[in-house]
C-alpha cells in the first residue's frame, strides 16, 4: 500500500453505500409509507433525507476512524470494555466534591424550577430508585429479572388500596409497601433459586405479568382497569389540597396563596432524601460481606457454594432488597400521579428499567442514575420528536451495545482488604 497514513476514501465510500442501502431497507417502509385513510402515500422525499443523512454520516465516520485520532479512539473503545476494574483498596475518588454540589442543586431546584420541570425530575428520580433496585438483582447478583415492574406495582397499589381500605396514608405505607414488596420478592425468589439465565428471565417475566393480570382482573378489590386513586403525602398532618375536609391545609397554615406546585415540591423533596438514603445504603452494602457475596455469586455460583456461601440467603437478600426499593418507587409513583391503574405496569416498564441498568453499566450506581435520567427526562425534553421516541430508543440501544457494551459508566470497584496495609 502506497498510502500509509492517508484516508482510503474508496473504503469509506463503500461503507457509506452499504449503510445507505441498509437505511433504505429500514426507513423505506417505516418513514416512506404514510397511511392515508384506506390508501397510502409514498413519501420519497423523507426517505431520501433519512438515507442521505445516514450515508453522509457513515462516510464521515468511516473517514474519521482512519485518521490517527480516530484510530486511537477506536482502539480505546475496543480495549476498554472487558470486566470490572478493580481499584486498590485505599482508593479515594477525586470526584467527591460533586456530591455536595448535586445535593445543593437538588435542594434549590424545586424553588426555582417550573411545575412541569419538577414533575419530569420527579419521574426521573422514581426511575433512579427503580434502576437502583433492579441493579442489585441484575447488576450485582447477576439474576436476570424481567418482572421487576411487579414490585413497582405492589408498592403503588399498596398505597392506593391501603388508603382506600385501611385508611393508611403515605407515611405509614412507605415502609409497609417496602416490606410488602420484599415479601413478594422472597415469594418470587424461593421457586427460582435453582434457575439461571434464560429460565430465570422467563419465570420473572411471568411473575410481572401475573401481578398485572391480578390487578386487572380482581376487579372487586383493585377496581380493575378503572384504577384507584392514591393519597398525597402530608406534612405533619397538613394536607396539600385546596380545601381539606378535616383539619388545616398547608397553604392555610402558612398563610400562603394556594399553588398546586407545593405538593410536587414536597413529593420531590421527600423523594430526593429517599434516593440519597438508598444510594448511601447501597454504597455501604456493596462494601459489606453481603455485597461481596452478591458479586461472587454473579461471577461463579459453584465456586460460591464450594466456599460454603449460603446461596439461598444471598439470592433471597438480593431479591428482597431489590424488590423493596422497587416498592418504594411504586409508592412515590402512586402518590405523585394521584392515581394508579394496571396500564402503568406493563412489560414495557420492566424493559425500560432493565434498559436503564444495562445502559448505565451493570452494577454501576452512577451509571444507573445517569441512564435513568437520560431515558425518562430526554423523551420529555424531545417532545416534538415524540413519534420517533421508540426509534431513537432502539438506535440508542444499538449504538450503546456497539460502542459501550459495558454501559455508560464502566464498573469500577474499590478492592477490599482485610485491614489496610497489614499484608506486605
Amino acid at each position: 500500500m502506497s498510502q500509509a497514513v492517508g484516508i482510503n476514501f474508496k473504503k469509506s465510500s463503500i461503507d457509506a453505500l452499504i449503510a445507505g442501502f441498509m437505511a433504505l431497507i429500514l426507513f423505506g417502509p417505516i418513514v416512506g409509507v404514510v397511511l392515508d385513510g384506506y390508501g397510502f402515500n409514498a413519501e420519497f422525499g423523507r426517505v431520501a433525507w433519512m438515507v442521505g443523512i445516514v450515508v453522509v454520516g457513515r462516510f464521515i465516520m468511516s473517514s474519521f476512524f482512519q485518521t490517527e485520532k480516530g484510530k486511537a479512539l477506536a482502539f480505546r473503545y475496543a480495549n476498554n470494555n472487558e470486566g470490572v476494574e478493580v481499584l486498590p483498596p485505599g482508593h479515594k475518588s477525586k470526584m467527591v466534591w460533586i456530591i455536595p454540589l448535586v445535593i445543593v442543586i437538588g435542594l434549590v431546584l424545586p424553588f426555582i424550577a417550573s411545575k412541569y420541570i419538577l414533575t419530569v425530575v420527579i419521574l426521573g428520580l422514581i426511575y433512579v430508585l427503580l434502576g437502583l433496585g433492579l441493579n442489585i438483582v441484575v447488576g450485582l447478583a447477576g439474576l436476570l429479572d424481567l418482572g421487576f415492574v411487579g414490585f413497582y406495582a405492589i408498592g403503588a397499589y399498596g398505597l392506593a388500596l391501603g388508603y382506600e381500605n385501611l385508611g393508611l396514608g403515605f407515611w405509614s405505607m412507605l415502609p409497609i409497601a417496602a416490606i410488602m414488596a420484599a415479601v413478594a420478592g422472597a415469594i418470587l425468589g424461593f421457586p427460582v433459586l435453582r434457575m439461571h439465565g434464560d429460565y430465570l428471565a422467563i419465570v420473572t417475566l411471568g411473575f410481572g405479568e401475573i401481578i398485572r393480570l391480578i390487578l386487572t382482573n380482581w376487579a372487586s378489590f383493585t377496581h380493575g382497569p378503572n384504577g384507584v386513586s392514591a393519597p398525597l403525602p402530608t406534612l405533619f398532618g397538613l394536607e396539600f389540597k385546596r380545601r381539606s375536609s378535616d383539619g388545616q391545609t398547608f397553604h392555610e397554615f402558612f398563610n400562603l396563596p394556594y399553588d398546586s406546585a407545593y405538593k410536587y415540591m414536597f413529593v420531590y423533596l421527600i423523594l430526593f432524601v429517599v434516593v440519597w438514603a438508598v444510594l448511601f445504603i447501597k454504597h455501604r452494602l456493596v462494601k459489606m460481606p453481603i455485597g461481596r457475596a452478591w458479586e461472587a455469586l454473579r461471577e461463579d455460583e459453584i465456586a460460591c457454594r464450594s466456599l460454603g456461601l449460603n446461596h439461598v440467603l444471598v439470592k433471597l437478600s438480593a431479591f428482597m432488597l431489590g424488590a423493596s426499593t422497587g416498592g418504594l418507587a411504586g409508592v412515590f409513583f402512586a402518590s405523585y400521579q394521584g392515581f394508579v391503574n394496571p396500564s402503568s405496569f406493563t412489560f414495557f416498564e420492566s424493559a425500560l428499567i432493565l434498559a436503564i441498568v444495562v445502559l448505565g453499566g451493570m452494577g454501576s450506581t452512577l451509571g444507573v442514575v445517569i441512564a435513568a435520567f437520560c431515558l425518562t427526562v430526554l423523551p420529555e425534553v424531545l417532545r416534538e420528536f415524540a413519534e420517533y421516541r421508540v426509534l431513537m430508543f432502539g438506535i440508542l440501544m444499538v449504538v450503546m451495545m456497539i460502542w459501550k457494551p459495558r454501559g455508560i459508566v464502566r464498573v469500577t470497584r474499590t478492592g477490599f482488604a482485610a485491614r489496610k496495609g497489614v499484608v506486605k
Binding site: 470486566g83 461481596r292 461471577e299 465456586a303 457454594r305 466456599l307 460454603g308 449460603n310 482485610a418
Partner: protein
C-alpha cells in the same frame, strides 16, 4: 490414627442412573488419600456428594463422628472441609487478594491477614499478582489461587478435584510439589485425580474407581506397580 472422614456404602443416583455403587472409603487424619479413575467413573460425584450436591440416596458420610450426608453445603464448609473445585472456579473479576478473602467466608475474617501472609509464603507467585484480576493469570496460577483460597478457611480436610486439569506437565509438577509442601504441614488431603502417576506418587493411600465402584485399594506404591493399574491408567509403561 483416627479416621477423619468415612464413606459407608454410599449410593448416588442421578435420576435413574446410578453414579456411585456402595462406595466405602476412609480418610485418616494427616494422610494424603487419592482417588483415581477414568472419565465418568464418579470421582467428582463422590466429592460433590460430601457437600450434598447431589444428595446420596443411601449410606452414610461420617466426618469426625457425625453423619454429614444430609447437611447443607455451607454447614459442611464451615466445619473444616474445604474444596478446590474442578476447573478451578476462581472469581474472574476479583483481584487475587479478594479471591483469597472470599475463602474466609466459613470462618470469618479474624485470621484473614495472618493466613493471607501464610498463603503468599506458600505461593510466592500470588504475592506478585495480589492486586491483579484473577482472570488475567495463567492456568497454573489460577490453580494455585484456587488451592490457596480453599486453605484460607483453615480446613481440617482439603478436598481437591483434579488440580492438574488442563495444565502443562511442568506446571502439574509444580502443583504437586506445592501439595507436598501443604501436606508436610500436617494437612489431610483427599485428592481426586486422573493423572494417576503423579497422584499415586504423592499419596499415602489410593483408591481406584471404575464405573462408580471402588475396584482396588492400597498404598500409593502398591497401586503404582500394580499391573492392572499400570495397564489402565499409566499407559502400560
Amino acid at each position: 490414627m483416627t479416621t477423619l472422614m468415612e464413606f459407608k456404602n454410599v449410593d448416588v443416583h442421578y435420576g435413574p442412573i446410578q453414579a456411585l455403587k456402595k462406595v466405602s472409603l476412609t480418610v485418616d487424619e494427616g494422610e494424603i488419600v487419592t482417588l483415581i479413575g477414568a472419565n465418568g467413573a464418579g470421582k467428582s460425584t463422590l466429592l460433590m456428594s460430601i457437600f450434598g450436591q447431589p444428595r446420596i440416596s443411601s449410606g452414610e458420610i461420617i466426618y469426625r463422628g457425625e453423619d454429614i450426608s444430609q447437611k447443607s453445603a455451607h454447614y459442611v464448609a464451615s466445619h473444616g472441609l474445604a474444596q478446590s473445585p474442578e476447573g478451578r472456579r476462581i472469581f474472574p473479576s476479583m483481584s487475587v487478594e479478594e479471591n483469597l478473602l472470599m475463602g474466609t467466608i466459613p470462618i470469618g475474617m479474624d485470621h484473614a491477614e495472618e493466613d493471607m501472609q501464610h498463603m503468599f509464603e506458600l505461593f510466592p507467585r500470588l504475592l506478585e499478582r495480589r492486586n491483579q484480576r484473577a482472570s488475567t493469570m495463567s492456568g497454573g496460577e489460577q490453580q494455585m489461587l484456587a488451592i490457596a483460597r480453599a486453605l484460607m478457611s483453615r480446613p481440617k480436610l482439603l478436598l481437591l478435584d483434579e488440580p492438574s486439569l488442563g495444565l502443562a506437565p511442568i506446571i502439574v509438577k509444580q502443583i504437586f510439589q506445592i501439595l507436598k509442601d501443604v501436606a508436610s504441614t500436617g494437612m489431610t488431603i483427599f485428592l481426586v485425580e486422573q493423572n494417576a502417576n503423579h497422584a499415586l506418587k504423592l499419596a499415602n493411600r489410593g483408591y481406584v474407581m471404575v464405573n462408580g465402584e471402588i475396584r482396588m485399594t492400597g498404598t500409593g506404591e502398591e497401586l503404582l506397580v500394580n499391573p492392572e493399574v499400570r495397564e489402565a491408567y499409566l499407559g502400560g509403561h
